[in-house]
């Protein structure tokens, strides 16, 4: 794969042409005008594949690579149907073009929600099959035979006997003139004929990641780039009050000081000068209306609001009566903190605002939002926005928001030539769009046999959909706010799930890896564990008895329990916890082993996952996502909390917003259940499951139930 060869000029020329012919929607049966093939000199039957006369295959990646392995997976979907090997393909980032590259499920040009494979499984295979069909037709025409007698194999078309064969590059000119078949007229391969899909093909992005050659957004240096260090108001809604511009400008290498409504940027020849200048500027802030915001007040407000009934997400059976008649009743509150994403690549964006265009160099999960931000700030027409997207140095949802892009464009409006706006780690952690704080109330009842008779879950917290897509709200219920809560995998005779939208003052909220399920699966899997304990039942046996009508969930649970040695005795202060979930279209069971030291410090020593995510694309990528997803969630479970005082975020860098380090990392084992079901998502499932798996393990080790995260060792000290 060639990352440096992502020639934006070439891409734009090519796709401008294509987009003229298309109109809207995700199109794989792009009709080629007579002048198109002549202009392009490539065979390009759709927006994802180009083949030149030398046979070089270029695959255009509609979804953004941020570590999840999607570039390899998308290339595999295309290559499988196109009948080529992955060795010599060239990958390109999709340019900004919503008509061609909008996500079929999300409607925008964005990557998130563990949806890439689910959304592109059929479109990309169809794109590959379309190209294959045309290449076969071209060869058949050349040989004057019936296309059904020919086949494609490893970059060639062969005739019936296999004696004649033509390389794809030799067929480009003929194929480009053939009418592109409609998707329904293209035959996809049968899964039993897959050669690539389902194999652990090597990732295509690895070589550039081990020698420093792969460029992330932060590595883009268009000619003449200056660097800006930025300080955004430490309190949301605040403004710069005084800035010592002269002191900043006196620093060697500083060129300019830029003030925007809510930030100060110092522009210099290099980041060292810009940062030094920013410090010298000794900025004072007018904190504005959120100057008094504190976490304690936010939680108090949530506590009060959570006592009021919420909007009904689901109601089946009579929960009130069932609770009243239960043999045992349990009422609990679970709390989850604000979380930062803290991706390794700090927020950054390089911008060149010209009179007639605004060009961006950035790694973003959301080109649609990036475009909108640039349009809003510059006032330019949308077609004047050029985005050079990059592989992302960690997304986790943070790069779905375009605030960093908006800040950068605001600065660039004042700068002659391209300017790279880099956030310090402190800015990155203190100016997040945080995972919301959740304050959930749950009530449950069990009968004499210990079986659940009533399940009540009231979610209280910020609604992300209410901000970004109010139309998605359903009678006051945020579907993300109750995802993973409204439909627990278990048989529950009476269930009521409510959503209470409570917005925190002075804090922005957004998607965080695992989204709704990474909040709700903690609540649901903690609470079912509490019911099992009340019933004096083994946590796995209890779940199994409630999953008899959910065979795929039952199977992952049984496999995880077997592989994790469930039931085998553990030493004192060691525990084993389980979680089961259906989320993102995949079934997952996770079992965590934890040791709780005498001082209350928790060490997670082993994690076993069993996953049924339907048909697999790349099993090693699935394993990698189980490992990484689990550690991302485990980090948050043990350490993650963003808190506020005097309107300011109290955490600032990796010494107080702690990352998990290598000595604390448990070994994660992945077991994949073979399945012919449609593919499910895998990028976030382990993140959701690990929170309760670990706290349930802590309960098993100590008898103490962790209902508020992050884990507080002081609560777990040996008595």
């Amino acid at each position: 794969m060639s990352n440096s060869a992502l020639g934006p000029q070439l891409n734009r020329r090519h796709f401008l042409k294509a987009s003229v012919a298309v109109g809207g929607g995700l199109v794989v049966n792009l009709a080629l005008g007579p002048d198109f093939s002549a202009a392009a000199a490539d065979f390009a039957p759709n927006a994802f594949i180009r083949i030149d006369r030398k046979g070089l295959v270029t695959l255009v990646m509609p979804q953004v690579e941020m570590g999840q392995g999607i570039y390899t997976a998308q290339a595999m979907l295309l290559a499988e149907e196109l009948e080529i090997a992955l060795d010599d393909v060239k990958l390109e980032h999709a340019p900004l073009n919503e008509a061609l590259y909008a996500h079929p499920m999300l409607g925008r040009q964005m990557t998130g929600g563990s949806t890439s494979i689910r959304a592109f499984w059929t479109p990309l295979r169809t794109a590959g099959a379309t190209a294959r069909t045309l290449l076969i037709q071209a060869a058949a025409k050349e040989w004057n035979v019936d296309p059904v007698t020919c086949r494609a194999e490893d970059g060639f078309v062969l005739d019936e006997s296999g004696t004649r064969k033509l390389a794809y590059g030799e067929l480009v000119d003929i194929a480009a003139l053939l009418p592109v078949p409609a998707p329904e007229d293209v035959t996809l391969k049968s899964p039993e004929d897959f050669k690539l899909l389902g194999t652990s093909a090597k990732r295509l992005d690895t070589p550039g990641k081990i020698n420093g050659s792969l460029n992330y957004g932060i590595d883009a240096f268009p000619d003449g780039t200056k660097i800006a260090a930025i300080a955004i108001s430490p309190v949301l809604g605040g403004k710069p009050k005084s800035v010592n511009e002269q002191a900043a400008l006196a620093i060697n290498g500083v060129r300019q000081v830029v003030l925007t409504d809510e930030a100060v940027a110092v522009v210099g020849d290099h980041t060292g000068a810009a940062k030094k200048g920013l410090e010298a500027a000794s900025i004072e802030w007018d904190d504005g209306p959120n100057a008094q915001v504190s976490s304690a007040d936010i939680v108090r407000h949530l506590e009060q609001e959570s006592q009021k009934p919420g909007a009904i997400a689901r109601s089946e059976g009579d929960v009130t009566t069932a609770l009243a008649g239960a043999a045992q009743r349990i009422d609990v509150v679970y709390q989850l903190p604000f979380l930062s994403h803290a991706a390794m690549e700090p927020m950054n964006c390089t911008v060149h605002v010209r009179e007639d265009a605004c060009e961006l160099w950035v790694g973003t999960q959301n080109l649609s939002a990036a475009k909108l931000a640039a349009v809003t700030v510059t006032g330019l027409e949308p077609e004047k926005i050029i985005i050079n997207n990059h592989i992302v140095g960690g997304g986790f949802g943070r790069r779905l928001e375009a605030d960093g892009i908006a800040h950068a464009v605001k600065v660039a409006m004042h700068v002659d030539g391209p300017v790279k706006v880099i956030w310090s780690r402190e800015e990155d952690i203190q100016h997040g769009y945080y995972r919301p704080y959740y304050y959930d109330r749950m009530s449950g009842g069990i009968d004499e046999q210990g079986n659940p008779v009533a399940w009540m879950h009231r979610v209280s917290g910020s609604s992300i959909f209410a901000r970004i897509a109010p139309g998605a709200m359903q009678n006051g219920v945020d579907p993300d706010g109750v995802e993973g809560a409204a439909h627990p995998p278990y048989k529950l005779p009476a269930i009521q799930v409510e959503f209470n939208q409570v917005e925190p003052q002075g804090v922005l909220t957004s998607w965080w890896r695992g989204v709704g399920p990474s909040h709700n699966v903690f609540m649901v899997e903690s609470f079912i564990d509490e019911l099992a304990a009340a019933a004096e039942a083994d946590p796995v046996e209890y779940r199994k008895r409630l999953l008899t009508e959910n065979p795929r969930a039952l199977r992952v649970l049984e496999l995880a329990a077997e592989k994790a040695d469930w039931g085998k005795p553990l030493s004192a202060r060691q525990g084993r916890g389980v979680a089961v979930q259906f989320a993102f279209g995949s079934y997952l069971a996770m079992i965590a082993d934890a040791t709780v030291e005498a001082d209350g410090v928790v060490r997670v020593t082993r994690i076993v996952t069993a996953v049924d995510c339907g048909l697999t694309v790349n099993p090693d990528t699935i394993a990698a996502q189980m490992e990484g997803g689990a550690l991302y969630g485990l980090t948050a479970a043990l350490y993650g909390a963003i808190t506020l005082k005097d309107g300011r975020v109290e955490q600032s860098n990796f010494d107080n917003y702690l990352p998990l380090r290598i000595d604390e990392a448990p070994h994660v084992e992945t077991h994949i259940i073979p399945s012919a079901e449609p593919p499910g998502g895998i990028g976030e499932v382990a993140t959701s499951a690990v929170f309760p798996a670990v706290t349930n393990a802590i309960f098993s080790a100590t008898g103490r139930r962790v209902r508020t995260l992050p884990v507080n060792p002081a609560d777990l000290r040996e008595a």
Binding site: G67, T206, N211, S213, F221, A343, M344, R425, A624, A665
Partner: protein
């Protein structure tokens, strides 16, 4: 003022304040962007380079302190003992996810193997503790170091 230094076997001269961190000289002035910025406080290891063979956080290393030294960056890792073996192991075991921290991980790992050719788990923990990976690739990093050391 002007500083000359040896980077990857070549001499470079830059005109900056003496307290300018090596990281920004490499990235912004010399175009060697393989070394990454992560935290600016030597808390994450993304910026790790070798200064006279020692793993060093370039984000807190003033340029004036390395004028007499040999600096090696990820771009020249293959020329360092164990460098190529580590890169091969990284590919073999599919270590990187987002990849952003991996330059620093590899530079720390190469310094470890130079010092301790057959590291124990504790050796790996000690040498790699300062390198943060938010994608959670630690178990593969550990396995790849062992593979490269074999």
């Amino acid at each position: 003022m002007a500083f000359s230094m040896q980077i990857n076997g070549r001499t470079y001269t830059v005109d900056v304040d003496g307290d300018t961190p090596l990281l920004w000289v490499l990235r912004d002035l010399l175009g060697m962007t393989g070394t990454k910025f992560g935290c600016g406080q030597a808390l994450c290891g993304a910026c790790t380079v070798h200064v006279d063979g020692v793993a060093t956080r370039s984000c807190v290393t003033p340029i004036e302190s390395v004028v007499e030294s040999q600096v090696t960056t990820i771009e020249a890792l293959h020329t360092v003992a164990h460098g190529k073996a580590l890169q091969d192991a990284w590919i073999e075991l599919e270590v990187p996810q987002c990849g952003y921290c991996q330059s620093g991980q590899l530079m720390s790992a190469a310094a470890l193997l130079e010092e301790t050719p057959s590291p124990t788990d504790d050796d790996i923990d000690n040498a790699m503790w300062g390198n943060v990976c938010r994608c959670g690739t630690y178990q593969r990093i550990r396995a790849a170091i062992k593979r490269a050391s074999a």
